[in-house]
Symmetry: C2
Subunit: 190 residues, 2 copies
């Protein structure tokens, strides 16, 4: 049976089975208990994670406010990209909201893949571009949509999230207060 990671690489990047196996062999399975941190702000993000199961939250603290940037579920990569690539101290906290299974690769092995797999540069490019596009889409949403529209967008994209994750975190990720989210949701019922 294939892991989520293998599925992802094969489907998203269109890589053949052999290479998929090769790539995924560099990753190791990591279990995180609910509440544990995959990364703490200020540390170095020296592992790239890919989520097999569970839910994680990426957030930071800034002028007394906690900002949730993203909720990751099955099929997402999890890393502080700036820290991982540029070897700076991490800005983000990444915490498990439930027990999680992650496939992780460390910096060193990540470098190794690049040396051993000629096709890796292309995959890496696609991966980074995808990360960029996701953020770009969110910027557009903030520049052109109301809180309610952003909520609908997120809800339609991933309704289950709202049963699995504390609403305060989703509110923060949408850039609104929990009270406003509560009222928007009430509105949607009418």
């Amino acid at each position: 049976m294939m892991t989520e990671l293998e599925n992802y690489i094969q489907n998203y990047f269109g890589v053949n089975k052999e290479e998929v196996t090769k790539i995924s062999s560099y990753f190791k399975l990591l279990h995180l208990k609910k509440g544990e941190f995959f990364l703490k702000s200020g540390r170095y993000s020296d592992h790239l994670g890919f989520m097999q199961s569970g839910i994680m939250r990426e957030f930071l603290n800034t002028n007394n406010k906690e900002v949730t940037k993203w909720i990751s579920t099955k099929g997402y990569f999890s890393v502080d990209l700036a820290s991982f690539i540029f070897k700076q101290p991490a800005r983000w906290n990444i915490q498990a909201l439930t027990d999680c299974e992650l496939y992780v690769i460390n910096q060193k092995d990540y470098q190794l893949i690049g040396q051993e797999l000629s096709s890796w540069a292309v995959l890496e490019k696609l991966f980074l571009t995808k990360c960029f596009i996701i953020l770009e889409e969110r910027i557009v949403q903030h520049l052109s949509m109301s809180a309610e529209e952003r909520y609908n967008q997120l809800f339609n994209f991933n309704p289950e999230l709202f049963n699995q994750v504390s609403l305060q975190y989703l509110a923060s990720m949408l850039g609104i207060t929990p009270e406003t989210l509560s009222r928007i949701r009430k509105n949607q019922l009418l």
Copy 2:
């Protein structure tokens, strides 16, 4: 004398002179008159541009609203990344607000660089990551800052912009109306 592009590659990516010259030889200088489009939404973004001089605006139209994503000046790359990398129709319009000088490279030559320069994969990774980080920072701003705070951030980062670019575009880029920007600026004087 070095071009902005060569400066950028050398300083930002820490590449030696020889490689810098090699890389920049793939780029060709392109002149754009004020008002001309470097890219139109729906077309394919088959050129990556690097700005030597002038100002360009990246925007799209969505439900009767024009959204300005970014104003590019000297030292910025200009491209619809999703279109350039994934070969999709472009989402963004890129238009010259003033006469512009761009160093451009087409898809084919871009591929070639990768094949001829072993170090290219690393540079590409850094480039894409930088693009990502810029957007990530903007997301954080929208999740945690008021319109006025975002204005101050942008103004402190690049005050000249407000003398060179129509305020309505800067308002759009900040995610606010021109009226609100006008009032914020009035406030700042007191």
